[in-house]
């Protein structure tokens, strides 16, 4: 009973996170300005981290944790570099 409940709620959480990623992708593709696209990319990274953690719970393996950590780290670097580029027109001056 409880195992069934857990597997169904994992499935529902995956669907919700996929919908959230779809919203972020829409903002990434259609954002009226560049800063909207960067914000969509940042949201996409966070949602992907959560989706990978959910995959890890589903398969009961800690392998997905490292992938989630790397994606979270890359999200920070990418957003910081893109914000720097929007501000100054250069990433490394």
């Amino acid at each position: 009973m409880s195992t069934e409940l857990l597997s169904w709620s994992i499935l529902l959480a995956q669907i919700l996170l996929t919908l959230a990623m779809a919203c972020a992708v829409y903002r990434l593709l259609r954002g009226p300005r560049a800063q909207d696209r960067v914000l969509g990319l940042d949201t996409l990274y966070v949602n992907a981290t959560m989706l990978l953690l959910t995959f890890g719970i589903r398969t009961s393996s800690t392998l997905y944790f490292e992938a989630a950590l790397i994606i979270a780290l890359l999200g920070f670097v990418a957003t910081a570099a893109l914000a720097k580029f929007l501000m100054r027109g250069e990433v490394i001056e």
């Binding site: 529902l12 996170l17 560049a34 949602n47 959910t54 890890g56 719970i57 009961s60 780290l73 999200g75």
Partner: protein, 139 residues
């Protein structure tokens, strides 16, 4: 490695609830990103997912693996610390970049820049004029 079917009910129930709460908050934040009107409204919305949302999912993961492996599994705290440290930094950088771009394009929806303090050290004051005249024209 043990299976998820071995998980007792008292741990499966909070795990399921925390997962659903986290995913629902992430979806709410992303819907806000989709629906809100201006960029400065939209930048607030995804923080629902980056604070409470990912916190709930990380708590669910910690609870699940701790009960499953019958030892304390705390490496999810790494992601939590990373999120807490990096999210304000990136969003602040992004908001300041957007504000700079809007001001340099002469958009009248943003407040004007604060008046520059007098700089007695600089002998001419010319470099500030050059900096404020720099206009970014990308979209």
């Amino acid at each position: 490695m043990t299976n998820a079917a071995d998980l007792p009910a008292w741990a499966a129930l909070p795990t399921a609830l925390l997962l659903l709460l986290g995913a629902g908050l992430a979806l709410t934040g992303s819907l806000g990103l989709l629906r809100l009107g201006s960029f400065y409204d939209r930048i607030h919305a995804p923080t629902l997912g980056t604070t409470m949302g990912i916190g709930c999912v990380l708590l669910a993961s910690m609870l699940f693996f701790s009960v499953l492996q019958t030892r304390l599994v705390l490496h999810e705290l790494l992601i939590a610390i990373l999120m807490v440290v990096t999210t304000p930094v990136t969003l602040m950088l992004l908001a300041r970049a957007a504000l700079y771009r809007d001001r340099s394009e002469g958009c009248d929806e943003v407040p004007p820049p604060p008046p520059l303090p007098p700089a007695p050290d600089l002998p001419g004051g010319a470099p500030q004029a050059q900096v404020s005249a720099k206009v970014v024209e990308r979209t």
